[in-house]
Subunit: 338 residues, 4 copies
């Protein structure tokens, strides 16, 4: 099998995670091109990652670079149009979530993907590739917890990074659109059913800046699924202990809980405070392995002529759900999810 | 201070827990009388607990027994009228939860309590006396987690006892009225605010018997509190691992989680399954110490002329909330709680 | 069955634990007499525990008090002679550990016990009555971990109480005689075999006061048992997190570990330090229930004409082992235990 | 910096771990050659790893292959001579532990390393590169637990792999030489002092095959360190739950414990057994990241002209200690370690 040549678009915080993986840690892949509007980022790609071809324009990279695939890690508003262009240019596409900035835009991506059935389209819901989540899914498929009927999902960004959250809040679409897409994707994945209704609340107790821009610090929502199952969601931005991603899947024969203590590693300290486990600092630390594994799967799909389990419709669906959740919070009503 | 002479009404499963404590483990108390319509239970009181005076009728016990106080552990439908009679008869009153079978009935108890301000009235929300919950409350009052703004409460009865749950379901008032009162009381206690709105779902995946009688196996609800705080509730009846009571209080500076693993004791076994912690079997095991401590507090209140922190209004309020929750589930709507 | 009337000797820290249990929490027992050379302690017994008969002299209590049994919680050097006097006076005897201050003295107690086979003699190795240790023993007897062949025992006093340890060190007999008797008793109990050889080390890194009086802050020893099993011991006096008692029993089919985190209760706090579990402060907190249960067993043995599992020989044996351990440390050699 | 071209010798279980890392996951490295006496292994290197040059003879690889460095993952008896040959041939050397089969042989490696100060020599004590152990070391260096004075080390191979252990036992040198080198290296690393004396026991309760060949199933040893610190060791081969590597470092201000539950991942299951955490299956799973990180450090040292922290003398010292431990067990005596 040939090596897959990849061009990356976007080299911000998460872009560099993907670029580093593509450059060094993904058998079968070669990072040959990079695109960014930030000159320093291109310099970084050249010096640190050994990327030969760098571009300041996405379409130029598509037209000129020697690449089989692109990895889109740009700002969310560009995802759908770049997906469309790349597929038209005959490239396989990896894109970071969210698929699009609203459900309508997601249809553009859907159509582009449908128009290029020979290309691999990969959506970066990386949690599905995290070893613990993957293990949970396998156990569920083996019947270890019987039939799953409730998912309780918690996702809280660290207080240490709250300044960034506050800055980003006014343009984020609100806490649910900003933060809930991974959790609702996991609910759908684990429950094997579609969310049909949602009721959501929000609150702010620590940083009034969130209220001032119409957003919330914390959100709690409850989802009805088509098969009768239920989802409970808690998203927030002020975890004092670090980055807290916890998921529980309750089934008829058992319950699986993932990461109730978001431990940094396997060490525990006994000191004057008690028995203390330090927690992970953020998503790059918590999901480092998941980012690597999803990119490996993208490359393997291309090389083996396979399609990934996650589809473009999973991206649309997650967006529809987070939009309905935001609507419920705004309208103070139970909302249908279509 | 004199010893408080207590007569107990009801010697079922929980009645025997209280009777055993009063007979043997509560300094300052003496169990001198017992009342039951079940002759074997009275025999038990005489033989095992050394109770001298036994009665088959509650009012006769009130009239004739040498008692300062009564402990009401009868069927829920009798609580309010027995509270009223006992207070009228000049006795201090301990009553098991629920206060009454509906909010209206609770007013009867409220009036009786108000009419006898010199008597101690004690409502058995024993979780408030559990050492771990009490510790949590103290930490919160010390400011350890800042301002609490979210309580996530889970209460699941063991699958091992589901036959009893199924049998009791048709007359239980439904899962929320049956099971949620402790959890909503804890939410009010920890948040220091009143629940004003609720939205509730229910589902049944394992035992269709619950559906057949109009009940649910599992319930998930979300509460809006007056001060902006939120409550998330998960109640169920089919925990395969035992009796799972877990509560999390999220505050601006920290989070307190109580009993994520409902461990039976401090032992862990490493065996072919992995690292295994056996879980508690039911409420008598989990809350043995809480039952003792609340009864001690009842007796101490009497002896020291104090009133307990929990009031008759807490009982009414819990009933109002569980009724609103049941109404939300039935009406499939967001319900106000008055 | 009649109530057992008990006189207690010694009302220090641990004496008050036993006295409080006997006065209030042990069905079948009545604390009717107390003996102490400290007048305030006798006043305490009268005021707080309602004890009628108080004595400043042990033999006078034996001669005059209306008691069936005595609980000896005096200074270690008095145990053996008081055991002897009490048995001669026709009383059942509970005594705190250690049985005697050296193996020779233990023979005095053995002879006294042998001379009064109709009396209950009870030695306070309370850990055997702790619910977690009792559970471990039951699991082992059920075969859950197969054949046990290694016990790893850790016992560390809290740094918070180190001033007391330093003060007591010069007369304590050294860390092994002072601290290891519970651990070696547990090893014998769990392994069902006798220790035959020991090698011990000691070290002091934090408080030179221990070295100055010829003692050690920390001790680590290794035991060979007659059946081929092994014991590993770590005792210390400077745990910053609290009172750390941990025991692991390794068997052919599994391992049981008790209290790796000496948690204060079931609450965990997530705060800026991480996920934090507060630990127990000392033996009265950790073993409160064990102290109550062992005393209940003492009373039940008397009332039911039974003998306890722990015998006077267990006390001698523990003393022989701790003395051999101390000898090994002093002689820097492997020592036989006879 | 140029890419480092590496030839690997040995493609067994662990050899493939290193080869896979060198081929795909180590920026700056290229696996260009492989050497094995097993033809299938060379085929594997060509097909799966894309290695161009394959050899059945180590010296031929040294002479002919286009390599800057070699990774020696052959049988232990070959390590020292291959180290010597490779350094003489001007190659940088990574070698798996143990350094040599006995302390004398280790001197050969020492001399070879000393004779080639311009070459990087790297000894694969990979635990020092495990993120949890590395974190522990960093915390200790920051003073988080004060001065370390006791290391308690446990290393138990899984019962699931015991057939291999039994087969290998007769030629393994015994449990301590076979299994203890990582643990004694960690003790030295964490305590910053040298072991000067050891006393060791051994026992076999499950598989008599170990006794039959003069070996033991389980070993427990105690070490005296030059600075007064102590080491406790427990090695075994029959953990029913998986691969159990646990290390505790006790210091004057706190204790660090690494991996008391050798969890497979972050998931926990609540089922009829209780709360269950599945454990890791063996060293390739537990130390996957450590193997990658140590190889990265080897390559980085070459590229940056640095020397690694671990030296050839650490290898000799570990061998001397495990040999003294084996001697203590055999002689049933306290042994000096020179």
């Amino acid at each position: 099998m040939n090596t897959v040549k990849v061009g990356i678009a976007g080299l911000g915080r998460l872009g560099r995670v993907h670029a580093g993986n593509l450059a060094f840690r993904i058998p079968g892949a070669k990072l040959t091109a990079a695109c960014s509007i930030v000159p320093e980022e291109l310099l970084y790609a050249q010096k640190e990652l050994g990327v030969q071809e760098v571009y300041s324009d996405f379409d130029t990279m598509l037209a000129e670079a020697d690449i089989d695939a692109v990895a889109i890690v740009t700002t969310s508003g560009l995802h759908c149009s770049q997906i469309e262009s790349a597929l038209k240019a005959g490239k396989h596409v990896f894109t970071e979530k969210p698929l699009g900035v609203d459900p309508e835009e997601c249809r553009i991506a859907e159509k582009a993907v449908e128009a290029h059935p020979d290309k691999v389209f990969f959506l970066g819901f990386m949690r599905r590739y995290d070893p613990s989540y993957r293990y949970a899914k396998e156990q569920i498929e083996k019947g270890v917890i019987g039939k799953p009927y409730l998912v309780k999902a918690t996702g809280i960004d660290p207080e240490a990074l709250v300044e960034g959250s506050i800055k980003f809040a006014p343009t984020s679409g609100g806490i649910y659109i900003d933060m809930a897409s991974h959790d609702v994707d996991l609910m759908r994945w684990f429950l094997g059913s579609e969310a049909v209704e949602v009721y959501a609340l929000g609150t702010t107790f620590k940083h009034p800046e969130f209220t001032e821009c119409g957003d919330n610090e914390t959100g709690c929502a409850i989802y009805q699924f088509a098969n009768g199952a239920i989802g409970q969601l808690h998203v927030g931005r002020t975890a004092p202990h670090g980055y807290h991603i916890e998921t529980e899947i309750v089934g008829t024969e058992g319950t699986l809980r993932i990461s109730p203590v978001p431990e940094k590693n396997l060490a525990m300290i006994y000191n004057k405070h008690g028995a203390v486990t330090e927690c992970v600092s953020g998503f790059p630390e918590r999901f480092a392995e998941a980012y690597r594994l999803e990119m490996q799967e993208f490359i393997d799909c291309i090389r083996e002529g396979r399609k990934p389990d996650i589809t473009v419709y999973d991206g649309t669906r997650a967006t529809e759900i987070t939009f309905a959740t935001a609507r419920s919070l705004k309208n103070h009503s139970v909302e249908r999810i279509d």
